[in-house]
Amino acid sequence: MALMRNRDMVERYFRRGALPTTWCPGCGLGTATGAMVRAIDQLGLDADKVVIVTGIGCSGQVYTLLNFDGFHGTHGRALAAATGIKFANPELTVIAPMGDGDCAAIGGNHFIQAARRNMDITAIIMANQAYGMTGGQYSPLTPMGSFTSTSPYGHIEPPFDMCALAIAAGATYVARGTVYHTQELVRLIARGIAHRGFSVIEVLAPCPVQFGRRNAMATPVDMFRQLQRATVSVREAELHPEAIGGRAVRGVLREVEGPEFTAEYEALIRRAKGDTHG
């Protein structure tokens, strides 16, 4: 399916006066946000029923751009708030774009519990490997050996693999994409939103200003090349597993049916009311 043109997307889904964004030149968050909006459009969702729930940080700005109900709460708690929103009104489509610090560090427990609970929420991890807004400190996704403002001598902690973590915790849809592979990213997000259950899409997104310039990738082009080089599609990985060589695998990594929380709770309500036919 052809992607919606930028002008149409902005006209239909962006708040008037929202652009330009406050993000730095070369930032991947705009592309990631665009992919999310295009996915919403492709699915033909009722925009009145979409709620965007963000945390705090660069990704926390996403809500200010869009013409949906938006929730901008506290750092790390996006998924906990999203759980309350979705549970209170299961008719809503709840999408939670978060940064990797937000989701994997301060919100880490909420993330794994939400994956286990399998409520129909879509988590989009905009993974730029650093805390952009506060000045480029290291995050749980910062690779070992890289330099950040709080690892000036090189980072000595290993990073999380968020997709493996999501799968282990029980998420029923898990995918990885990048802002370099945009058409694929729109498909991955759309499939995640359509999936009935907790969906995780990790979006690798460059942060040239806070991360790249400290790690020999000073320009956006350098960083996009890195995304291209450092990832491999699921299809290619299956055909040539010996050639993966430490690269991150892009595509749908898990897609299974599982008991969805709000549906289970509706059945529980029927039992509690004594409706034996429920």
Partner: protein, 378 residues
Amino acid sequence: MTTMVLSGNEACVEGALRSGVRFFAGYPITPSSEIAEEMARRLPALGGKFIQMEDELASMAAVVGASLAGLKAMTATSGPGFSLMQENIGMAVMLEAPCVVVNVQRAGPSTGWATWPAQGDVMAARWGTHGDHPAIVLTPWSVKESFELTVRAVNLAERLRTPVILLSDAIIGRLREKVDLPPSVPVVDRPRPAMAPDHYRPYAGGPDGVPPMADFGTGYRWYATTTTHNERGYPVGVDAAAAEGLLKRLHSKIHDHQDEVVLTEGRWLEDSEVVVVAYGSVARSALAAVKQARSRGLKAGLLRLVTLWPFPSQLISQVAQRIRGLLVAEMNMGQMVEKVREASCGASEVWSVARFNGQYLMPEQILDKLEEVRRAWR
């Protein structure tokens, strides 16, 4: 009228359900867990939602989320959990999300004594979350009042779009008393927008300072944001006037409605030399002590604070001008006594009787203190 024997915690659930609470998110903690257990048992049959979250941070965040999606929402906890909830109590203040937080106080600090009562959280209830913010804190002295104040807490939260804290304690929460429950209770719903979505300003206060609140998913497409925001819900950027206006409105919408919010009960205030100021479970001992003191010829009265915050400074000041001494009785190292001292502003003496060893502050101890005051005045 139905007569039941209930614990304070059960009465709290009864009040919440009757005033329309249909969402509860919580995390187990002594001595509040019965509230969660009752909610888990009873909410589904009412079509309501119960969820046990991974911690109190998440519980409070879920409560705020559910409130924005349109449900009357509540949680319950005790000291250690109350500390964790502070982050998102602040969020509820800033988003103006109606909700009720019950804190069944136990002895602290930190893990403290899980099953022993205290009133050590009165300042945490006022100032626990950071930044300048208003607070409404109600504190029951009986099982019946646990019911009534929960109803009032839910209604105030909805009416003023704010979190309301019900500060119970291990004694009131687990005390069992006979209660006459009314056939119905007053039910207040949050103001909802009457205007078309195009004209909706989610943070424009209107004449009483409380903005109408659209449920998420009803086409108003608004931003609920904890960032300092203007009337439209957009970050203020460099607009200092908008930032100041927001903070002033958040406070004035509470303080302009003091007559609805600030509740006190006085006994023998007109005929006293010394007035015992007490709240929550301790007020029961204080009443007994005051009665005994009067039977011994000491002109004692009782001022019971039902609302702790906003603090009834004016009333304390008026009372202080008529009498010789105020005696503040509380189960902490003396927290509200400082507030009473400030309000009395030197117009009367201020004494303190405090107990903070997990034991109930008994009538005899308050009576002994009253006798000590009498001796000092001879």
